[in-house]
């Protein structure tokens, strides 16, 4: 048994919406080991996004405990949380969240900007990540000049550039067509095979099927948590489909 990377104990989150208290999370206790590929599923309002925000250190819990790689994150200040997000977590969003009118290269360099890496080193690391994503010839393109799949690959390069311990992907295929979705999932599966812990939020059964473990949320509670015996292989599925011309 590997040491769990993520441990949450009775995590709750309450907030007020137009004066009414909302219990978004009602006590979540899960453990996610290093090297796992976990899909978080659930209908909207189930609390899966709130859970993601807490795991991603974008928000603080109302009560409960959260340990990331043994560190009690739930007790940290805003600046310390920013440092955790910067060094330990890579985010991939549904709508890519790339800076407009800024080259792919500079988008990938962004996390390095906030941890004091000198410019030449920043440049070197960003270039190598983009090349690994097969975007070596698109480094100076702006997001608007890239296809959806390419934009998401830039975003993944950005998530990886600071060598995080965890990739958090929030509906990473929500804005992509089926084939491109497959391509992105193949990429995430490849990262996972290379040892990266991936936590994915999705409401699509098919996408969740690429993970090794599925945790289902409903009304702020975990209702199901099971291992997937034989996850789908995105790379193999891609090979079956005829390649379309990519812009």
């Amino acid at each position: 048994m590997v040491e769990p990377l993520i441990v949450t104990r009775d995590l709750t989150k309450n907030y007020h919406l137009e004066g009414f208290p909302v219990h978004a999370l009602r006590g979540i206790s899960v453990e996610i080991g290093a090297g796992e590929f976990v899909a978080i599923m659930g209908p909207s309002g189930s609390g899966k996004s709130t859970f993601m925000n807490l795991v991603g250190c974008l928000d603080s819990p109302s009560s409960g405990e959260y340990l990331l790689a043994g560190e009690r994150v739930s007790a940290l200040s805003g600046n310390a949380l920013a440092a955790i997000r910067n060094r330990r977590i890579g985010f991939v969003f549904q709508n890519f969240n790339l800076l407009p009118r800024t080259s792919a290269l500079e988008n990938v360099e962004l996390p390095l900007l906030y941890c004091g890496i000198p410019p030449t080193e920043r440049h070197r690391r960003a270039v190598s990540r983009l090349e690994a994503m097969g975007l070596g010839d698109r480094m100076h393109h702006h997001p608007s000049q890239l296809s959806g799949g390419q934009q998401q690959r830039v975003a993944i390069a950005r998530a990886l550039v600071n060598d995080p311990v965890l990739i958090l992907a929030d509906e990473p295929t929500g804005a992509l067509d089926t084939r491109t979705s497959c391509e992105i999932m193949a990429l995430l599966q490849q990262l996972n095979r290379d040892g990266m812990t991936v936590v994915l939020v999705t409401h699509e059964q098919e996408i969740a099927g690429f993970a090794n473990r599925i945790i289902s949320f409903r009304d702020g509670r975990v209702v199901e948590d099971h291992r997937v015996e034989r996850p789908s292989d995105a790379a193999a599925m891609m090979a079956e489909r005829p390649a379309e011309v990519e812009a």
């Binding site: 974008l58 440092a83 962004l110 941890c115």
Partner: protein, 410 residues
């Protein structure tokens, strides 16, 4: 993240929205330009006043004939001439703080010379007059003691008279006639400009006082050797009030005035009048600068306005930056640097506008302007402070956004 990187991010953000950035800067450009131009105009006016003070001679006291009573009726100043040429020499001799004292006897008449004639005032003066009034000869020479004693038929003329009689040709060596008396022009006076009252100081002919009295004004004037005024120049670093008291007591003694009798002469210290005028021009300069500062302030509010819009518009960008590890301080720095960059670039362009504006006003309105490095530095510094001041609130607003809300912002 260092300041240089922040600067680069700020410059890129400003470049992305060129039109908006330049319109925002325009407020600062106009503000800084206005401040620099107005300070230059104000300083120019002050310099002009200072120059006028110098042209009248600093430490200058003018003695005029005072009020006298004739059969019980008190007559106005100068209605009867009570001061004499000898008073002037006595003051020079006996009051130690006096550097030069020069009597002046006024006459008026038609001057003819060349093929023209001109109606002007002429003054019979002693050679010390040039020193007392700090009035230099720019061509030819002045007259000296021997010409005084011999009532020599020589004259020194002002620029206005020279122009009226001889146009642009050299007046030195020409013969002019006043009341049919021919006088040789031996010198041309330096240009002095107008007095505050608007009298043209260059519209004058100066000659030895003896020449004026004996040859032109005639015998009636020669008896008591009275003069219209005496110009007294004090030595440097002299207490003017003490010198005035010395002169006053000497003249009262010479005029045999009893204690209790009023002075029959009048001392006028021009520098007092002028320093009041200098003060008022200083106040005007200050007022101009204050009005211009208001436009700079309005420019600053423009920056705040645009920065607030920009923060709202870029909420998602802020959220993303926070998600990838920007601390609140990094976001604050980024937007603050952006505001300061706007203000400073606007400030530098404003300097350009101010310099051009100042020269344009000098050129087209013919006003004296004085550009000073201090005022330029002040205006740019002020622009920077405005950037910090008005940029701080929007920047703080940006830095206090919550990452999840900023990321979800539509």
């Amino acid at each position: 993240m260092n300041l240089l990187a922040s600067m680069r991010i700020a410059l890129r953000a400003l470049r992305v929205n060129k039109l908006r950035s330049s319109l925002t800067m325009l407020g600062i450009i106009i503000g800084v330009g206005a401040v620099i131009t107005m300070i230059a105009v104000g300083a120019g006016a002050q310099a002009r006043v200072e120059e006028q003070i110098r042209s009248l001679g600093s430490n200058l006291i003018i003695i005029l004939s005072g009020s006298v009573s004739s059969s019980g009726a008190r007559l106005g100043y100068g209605s009867q001439r009570t001061i004499t040429e000898d008073d002037a020499y006595a003051i020079h001799r006996e009051v130690l703080s006096v550097q030069a004292a020069a009597p002046a006897l006024r006459g008026a008449g038609q001057v003819s010379g060349g093929s023209n004639n001109w109606s002007t005032a002429f003054w019979g003066v002693s050679p010390e007059y040039f020193e007392a009034r700090q009035w230099n000869i720019v061509a030819g020479r002045g007259f000296g003691q021997s010409e005084m004693q011999g009532s020599a038929k020589v004259a020194v003329i002002g620029e206005t008279v020279a122009k009226a009689l001889y146009g642009d040709s050299d007046p030195v060596g020409q013969i002019i006639r006043i009341n049919k008396v021919p006088l040789t022009v031996i010198g041309l006076l330096e240009r002095k400009g107008q007095t505050f009252g608007g009298r043209d100081q260059d519209d004058a002919v100066l000659m030895p006082i003896t020449t004026a009295r004996n040859r032109i004004l005639g015998a009636a004037q020669s008896k008591r050797r009275t003069v219209n005024n005496i110009s007294v120049k004090l030595r440097d670093d002299i207490n003017v009030a003490e010198a005035e008291a010395d002169i006053r007591s000497l003249l009262r003694q010479r005029h045999r005035l009893q204690a209790g009798q009023t002075d029959d002469f009048f001392l006028r210290n021009l520098s007092e009048v002028l320093s009041a005028r200098e003060e008022s021009s200083r106040i005007m300069a200050l007022l101009l600068a204050a009005v211009a500062s208001v436009s700079l302030l309005v420019g600053g509010i423009g920056i705040m306005n645009i920065m607030l819009v920009s923060v709202t518009e870029r909420t998602r960008e802020i959220g993303l930056r926070m998600a990838v590890g920007a601390r609140a301080r990094d976001i604050l720095t980024q937007f603050l640097v952006e505001a300061i960059t706007l203000a400073l670039i606007g400030g530098l362009l404003g300097v350009l506008l101010g310099v051009i504006g100042s020269y344009a006003i000098g050129e087209f309105a013919g006003w004296r302007v004085a550009l000073r490095a201090e005022s330029i530095a002040l205006a740019v510094g002020f622009a920077g402070i405005i950037g910090v001041f008005f940029g701080f609130y929007p920047a703080r607003k940006a830095s206090r956004l919550l990452p999840i809300e900023a990321l979800r912002y539509e």
